[in-house]
């Protein structure tokens, strides 16, 4: 599965990141499920879920929050309804002011068929008023899973920006970006051993969607994902070696 995929709602994503093409690409790669994680918003989750139902690809309802520290954290919820309710709280943490599409890019809300429904005018590329700890607390208070995103990256990654894993930050998993080697990063930062590590694509274009983490689950559902991240009940998640990724 690939838990970190952007749609046209993310200003930095390509215009090809529409529900149909995303799930078709996922199906062609043999992915059982994908996570939809647009910046500070879940407004395309329902559309991708609908496209996923048609294509037989599970879609996890998510957002990629930008904490006050300018560090990204993925949030997943049992369904689109919970994600959208959580989004209302996220919107209250956004700074005032509007997106400047000419400079940052367009933020498009689309239907399952890829028709343009509206443009989101909020400044979704901005940091929330919540620091990381409050992001994680809010996610958990809404019954969600919190995963620190691409922690190795110098821009917006937890280790890249803060240098250390803040003690007491409760995370359900930690994500490495596509080129990061898990062995190298756990050697560099031994505290990572206490977390389940995953790797996802952070796809902003179709060709970037990829199978980088293998999940042993009975079916691709939120409850099973939760067990896999906990590593309980025979469920598990592990990062595929780079040379094995293409056959997945």
């Amino acid at each position: 599965m690939d838990l970190h995929v952007h749609t046209v709602l993310s200003a930095c994503a390509e215009l090809e990141m529409l529900p149909g093409p995303i799930v078709e690409r996922a199906r062609a790669l043999g992915l059982a499920g994908i996570g939809v994680t647009d910046h500070n918003s879940a407004e395309n989750v329902l559309a991708v879920s609908e496209a996923g139902r048609r294509a037989g690809v599970a879609v996890f309802a998510g957002l990629e929050l930008q904490a006050k520290e300018e560090v990204h954290i993925l949030a997943f919820f049992p369904g689109a309804g919970q994600a959208l309710r959580f989004q209302e709280e996220v919107y209250r943490q956004l700074p005032a002011g509007q997106n400047d599409p000419r400079r940052f890019g367009h933020q498009l809300v689309v239907s399952a068929d890829g028709e343009l429904l509206r443009e989101n005018t909020r400044f979704l590329q901005a940091p929330l008023a919540w620091p990381l700890r409050e992001c994680a607390e809010a996610i958990h208070a809404h019954g969600g899973l919190a995963i620190a995103a691409h922690i190795d990256r110098p821009a917006y990654g937890l280790l890249g920006v803060l240098g250390v894993l803040p003690p007491g930050l409760f995370l359900d998993a930690v994500e490495l970006s596509r080129h990061a080697d898990p062995a190298e990063w756990t050697a560099r930062e031994p505290a990572l051993r206490q977390f389940t590590l995953i790797s996802s694509s952070d796809a902003h274009r179709l060709a970037e969607i990829a199978a980088q983490t293998w999940f042993r689950v009975a079916e691709p559902t939120f409850e099973e994902l939760k067990l896999a991240l906990q590593g309980t009940a025979g469920r598990e998640a592990h990062i595929l070696a780079v040379e094995r990724r293409h056959v997945q």
């Binding site: 930095c12 006050k68 520290e69 300018e70 700074p95 400047d100 400079r103 940052f104 590329q125 901005a126 940091p127 110098p154 821009a155 917006y156």
Partner: protein, 112 residues
Amino acid sequence: MTVQQIVDALGLKVLSGDGLLERAVSGGYASDLLSYVMAKAQPGEVWVTLQAHPNVVAVASLTDVACVIITEGIQPDEVTLAKARQEGVILLGTNEDTFRTVARLAALGLEG
């Protein structure tokens, strides 16, 4: 003072915006958190940072800073450079760190 004069004085590498270096510089600001830059950087200032991703270009354009100096020898990727060329944003590079760079800018007479 112009961007060109700063490039010459500090020996900076011009990463984008070669044709735009006669722009006047009025002062400077240094931060790696984009939210602070958006709130505090003034048009015409030089912005010093070690960030080098595409949103740096968007923020530089939005705040209308005169140029961005990327420190620590960090090289922006091709997406960032293409966006900078398209937006007419001057990106300059140095191997020195932010403290040293700001100290040298201050020695030239630039103020925050």
